[in-house]
């Protein structure tokens, strides 16, 4: 079998290196076993989780997510999903830090609207400032606005994660031009978070030069989540290699691949 060219090309976030550029969510799977198998197949190092109240008085023995994605094996990225204010998001991150024994890498998302789940950018900026001052390493979900992305980087966010399309929509990268504008000015990893529906969407994000892709629904809501997780792993690798390899220039007209000299009968 052909041997792949070995690349020493880790994703570096907040000084930590990760082999995989695919980050994956743990929501919406059929059960814990499917969660475990899909995450394994994705090859992801960074895995997002949400924080919620424990069920009091019911199913105390129910399987715990952190048994399926042990923090010893994965970098757990707690999110602030369904926080609508900076205050709620900061509170959630502080609880996550306690839950995970001082772990300081968080995914900040402050939502503005139930229907679109679009980020509330003003609350996001406020939360990012408080969290950074409190010692958190903030990977921040935001809109695909290049100015806001730059502002979040300048504040000290360790990764900026613009949406490709609304969370859970599977619409793909709706505005690749904005993602490119964000990338042009970026000095921290730009990771497309939300909107990916297919492996080719993930590949496109990576071909544009993104440092990684974060997804959940595209895998969890596939007919076969485990197979899709594997496809996404390849898609992200494929897009990254294509980006590093450097695409050929676009031309308006044809350019023959075979030489014109010595054409038979000429």
């Amino acid at each position: 079998m052909t041997q792949d060219i070995a690349l020493n090309d880790p994703l570096v976030v907040a000084g930590r290196s990760f082999n995989s550029r695919l980050m994956i969510g743990t929501g919406k799977y059929k059960d814990m076993e499917e969660t475990r198998l899909a995450i394994e197949a994705s090859g992801a190092d960074i895995v997002t989780v949400a924080l919620r109240r424990t069920n009091i008085g019911q199913n105390p023995g129910e399987p715990n997510l952190l048994d399926v994605v042990p923090p010893e094996k994965y970098t757990i990225l707690p999110n602030t999903a369904f926080c609508y204010t900076a205050e709620e998001a900061v509170r959630t991150c502080r609880l996550a830090r306690e839950l995970l024994d001082g772990h300081d890498l968080v995914k900040l998302e402050v939502l503005g609207d139930d229907k679109t789940l679009y980020p509330n950018v003003t609350e996001t900026l406020a939360a990012a400032e408080t969290l950074i001052n409190d010692g958190f390493k903030v990977m921040v979900y935001t809109s695909d606005d290049p100015l806001i992305a730059k502002r979040l980087e300048e504040m000290g966010c360790v990764a900026v994660m613009p949406l490709g399309a609304p969370i859970g929509s599977g619409l793909g990268i709706r505005n690749p031009h904005n993602i490119k504008l964000i990338l042009e000015n970026a000095n921290v990893p730009i990771i497309v978070d939300a909107g990916v529906g297919t492996p080719s969407d993930a590949t496109l994000a990576m071909e544009l030069g993104c440092e990684g892709v974060l997804m959940n629904s595209a895998v969890a809501h596939a007919s076969n989540p485990v197979l899709m997780a594997q496809a996404m792993r390849k898609a992200v690798e494929c897009g990254r290699e294509g980006y590093l390899a450097g695409r050929m220039p676009r031309k308006a007209y044809a350019s023959a691949s075979s030489p014109i000299e010595g054409v038979i009968g000429s």
């Binding site: 929501g27 919406k28 424990t54 952190l66 839950l99 995970l100």
Partner: protein, 67 residues
């Protein structure tokens, strides 16, 4: 007997001198959780020395699936 609010539900307990005992009673002591009492995080190392008082509002959270 003391009355508490735990994750939004009111609860009466006959005995819970400290937070660790409350977690034991709720059968949560072997799970990875984070706890706030009256919006203040109580580090795990302090659970057994943190008193639970009448009227306390307690939040107990854990990690679940999310994107």
């Amino acid at each position: 007997m003391i009355r508490l609010t735990v994750n939004g539900e009111s609860m009466k307990l006959y005995s819970a001198n400290n937070l660790q005992e409350l977690l034991d009673t709720l059968r949560l002591s072997n799970q990875r959780v984070a706890v706030e009492i009256n919006s203040e995080i109580i580090p795990r190392s302090l659970h057994s020395q943190t008193r639970v008082r009448e009227g306390d509002s307690i939040e107990i959270v854990r990690a679940i699936g999310g994107g």
